[in-house]
Amino acid sequence: MADTATSAPAGLPEHPSPRAAGCPFDPPPALRSLQTDRPVSRVQIWDGSRPWLITRHEDVRTLLNDPRVSADATRDGYPHRSAAMQGSDPASQTFLTMDDPEHARLRRMVTAPFAIKKIEALRPSIQKIVDDLVDTLLAGPKPVDLVEAFALPVPSLVICELLGVPYEKHDFFQRNTRIIVRRTSTPEEVAAANAALIDYMDDLLADKLARPADDLLSVLATERVATGELTRREAARLGNLLLAAGHETTANMIALGTLALLRNPGQLALLRETEDPEVVAGAVEELLRYLNITHSGRRRVALEDIEAGGETIRAGEGIIFANDVANRDPAAFPGPDRLDLTRNARRHVAFGYGVHQCLGQPLARVELQVVYGTLYRRIPTLATAIPFDEIEFKHDGIVYGVYKLPVTW
């Protein structure tokens, strides 16, 4: 693989490309030049293949909503993120990598609990989870790693409650999820982690069938498995997708968002001093836009020839949507590199776009609103406990963030 990468035709940019030193919040400079000069452009990825990279906000939105663009990861030409992802068995796909109508059929089985009003009804219990964790932080030793002590437990506790997964098992599923989202994991490691998670979920579903409770896994067990609509294995994969998607992402937003705010004290002050939920909600959208933690891009493959940006994407060719740099497109967001919590950032594509746009977004929004609206008010002197240049960023992660965030107050 290393060999094919070095034999790239001269001038073909490699993807992903590194961020600039000292600018850990900004997308790689190479993406910026592509956005300006060649918004639809071929790039070279790890396996030597040459998918198209889409960098403008407008093109990302148009093409992610185009039925000629497929999310099916089992098709030839699909630009996999790593050897491990490529090696994953076709039978283990979830609706994340399926097309309609199968995608819609499976997605609709789990949309009910994510409706705005149902998620809004969870706000008090999310607030309690956050308040309790802040109490524990304040009572404990400092400095403390905010990732371990706060950013991961918040979404983990919330998604466990919603699904009906015992939180005591969090070490087990966080460890396995981390293996899956690490770009450097081997195919064997990813397969083993996936199998362990699915087996666990499968056992849990058997329990729920026998003793249903008031949670999403019980609904899947009694309304879909018991009726023969899904096998227990399929339901396990669905549950597992929600468990995995539901905590790494939000956890990274909490820790990276806190760091970005600590680096922008004026913006942090806006959040700390407001009582207005609209202001907090707007801040969440802007942080989603600015940080765009799903930095490895949406992956797709063309089903037919498609004209875009003066180029022809041929049927069967891979497409990567760089939603990170699309969120910094000056045509969509004036002064895009400024973190401005008061701007209208709602049109960001941090949750993707089209029929695969994040299912968990209502939940992620409320979690982040509660966190950003609580943490800095309750710990107004919050500060990083190590120098900025010693903080390690997840350059190798499918989801971007910081590995650790030692903080004090």
Binding site: A112, F114, A115
Partner: protein, 77 residues
């Protein structure tokens, strides 16, 4: 703006149409225009008011623009 009634801005009436089979239950429209859009028990969009009055047009246009599935169509009559 019509010359016969210079004191008030007249907006064209708006008609909202949702394509429920396309909806992916993202909830974005409900967040932006909660008195025009809601979700059924499965999270799929329903309209509360197919002919929203002028003060709500801006929010409704925003909802149509951010809907990820292009499931909201507006007809300005």
């Amino acid at each position: 703006m019509t010359p016969s009634n210079p004191s008030r801005r007249i907006e064209k009436p708006m008609r909202v149409e949702v394509d429920r089979p396309r909806c992916v239950a993202s909830g974005q429209c409900v967040l932006v225009a909660p008195d025009v859009f809601d979700q059924d028990d499965d999270g799929i969009v329903v309209t509360l008011d197919e002919r929203p009055d002028a003060p709500r047009h801006e929010d409704v246009r925003e909802a149509a623009a951010i809907c990820p599935a292009a499931a909201i169509a507006l007809r300005e009559e």
